[in-house]
Amino acid sequence: MNSKIIKELKVSAIENGTVIDHIPSNAVFQVIRILKLESFNNMVLFATNLESKKYGTKGIIKVSNKFFRPEELNKIALVAPHASIIEIRDFQVADKKIVETPDFIKGIVKCFNPNCITNIEQLTAKFSVLDKEEIRLKCHYCEKITTKNTLEFL
């Protein structure tokens, strides 16, 4: 039995909705939070630490009856840069794409600098993305650089 079939057994198929595949195992819960699936009312299936030929292990999320806008999905690029997005309609793959890290990020990430105005006054943190692979985000306000190690989601 190949691993694909095992996966299908572990996370059952959805009729309509979105499958987010190839999420790093440790990022599944962050993706759930970023896409606000905690407060979502339709069926959400997810699994993590699945076997993956490409990445060793991976996570997967299936969201029933929900199709995301690209800008919503691109938010997850910070934690799942190689995620693939599969739209399912009537149990069939209707569309397949990969996420793209945006050039500019607003309101997802917290500036790591405690003395930044965004952590003091009521306003939304904004960043320009200096490095999409290594994740280096330059704060629009304090100009400090938030990196993977200091990344914290709002």
Partner: protein, 302 residues
């Protein structure tokens, strides 16, 4: 530059920066003019400052303008918990231009986004202090006759010194060769070095100051601050690493000048002060002309 806030040095293009320096020359020739008599400038200093605040206020006063504001936040409504947003929106009603220093980083950018009148950043924490950069550029231009192709040595706290960061970024427009002298712990951060590398300019790093002096056109000294060190012994060891003595500037280039943003502690011996190559007090005076030029230009008067 009418109505254009100055928050970070890169908000102004190289041409715009040069225009301010050009205009500063005119104000240096004629620093007392009655061109701001119809204007009110707000000077909001949320933390103490001597040079910056007084030189802004002197610049405005010599041009006949009026100043409202405060020099520390403790007796203002900030103390009552007022947000910066509300303070700025209120004071913008009373003034044509706001000069602000605030210890919170990014505060000036935020103010410039919500304020109906332009903002000049007079320092936002460890982030930016662009008028210092303009007066440094002016001082270099005035003493060297050019900003292009110079050897600039920077000494001291290159890691936390915001004046260093902004000056490095600004000098990247002028094909500068950088000589960076600091203790290993206080090296120029990679986020600033990135600008030098992007322009493919040359930089050298040293821990010893003496070898850079003979080749330098400008020696830019900075203070190493006690509060940067968690270990007081470490501070004591490092603070005495860079002390400029007059004997060290004997064999320097003809137009060589020593600059320092001030205040100094012990990094420049007072025996340097009377040497014609010491330039730091003139540098502070240049701040008045540069700020006059900036204010006049933002208010659309010149």
């Amino acid at each position: 530059m009418k109505n254009k806030s100055l928050v970070s040095i890169n908000d102004y293009s190289k041409d715009e920066q040069l225009k301010i320096l050009e205009l500063a020359k005119e104000f240096e020739k004629n620093p007392v003019q009655n061109i701001l008599q119809d204007h009110v400038i707000a000077s909001l200093f949320f933390e103490p400052s001597t040079r910056t605040r007084l030189s802004f206020e002197s610049a405005v006063n010599r041009l006949g303008g009026k100043i409202v504001g405060f020099s520390e936040a403790s007796n203002t409504s900030v103390k009552k918990g007022e947000s910066l947003r509300d303070t700025i929106l209120t004071i913008a009603n009373y003034s044509d231009l706001i000069v602000m220093r605030n210890p919170i980083e990014g505060s000036a950018r935020f103010a410039s986004e919500i304020s109906p009148v332009p903002i000049i950043n007079a320092g936002d924490g460890a982030n930016q202090h662009p008028t210092q950069t303009l007066l440094d550029l002016y001082s270099i231009l005035k003493t060297q006759g050019t900003l292009d192709n110079l050897n600039v040595a920077m000494v001291g706290d290159l890691k936390y010194g915001r004046t260093i960061h902004s000056l490095v970024i600004a000098l990247c427009n002028f094909n500068t060769t950088f000589h960076l002298v600091s203790p290993v712990e206080l090296k120029l951060p990679s986020s600033v070095k990135m600008h030098i590398k992007e322009r493919k300019l040359t930089y050298h790093q040293y821990t010893d100051m003496e070898e850079v002096i003979p080749n330098a056109d400008i020696l830019y000294m900075t203070r190493i601050q006690r509060e940067r060190f968690s270990d007081p012994l470490e501070y004591e060891r490092i603070k005495n690493a860079y002390n400029l003595d007059v004997s060290m500037i004997k064999n320097t280039k003809e137009d060589f000048k020593v600059l320092h943003p001030l205040p100094r502690v012990n990094e420049i011996n007072i025996n340097v002060d009377v040497n014609p190559k010491a330039y730091y007090f003139e540098q502070a005076l240049n701040g008045v002309f540069v700020r006059q030029a900036l204010i006049a230009s933002i208010l659309g008067i010149r």
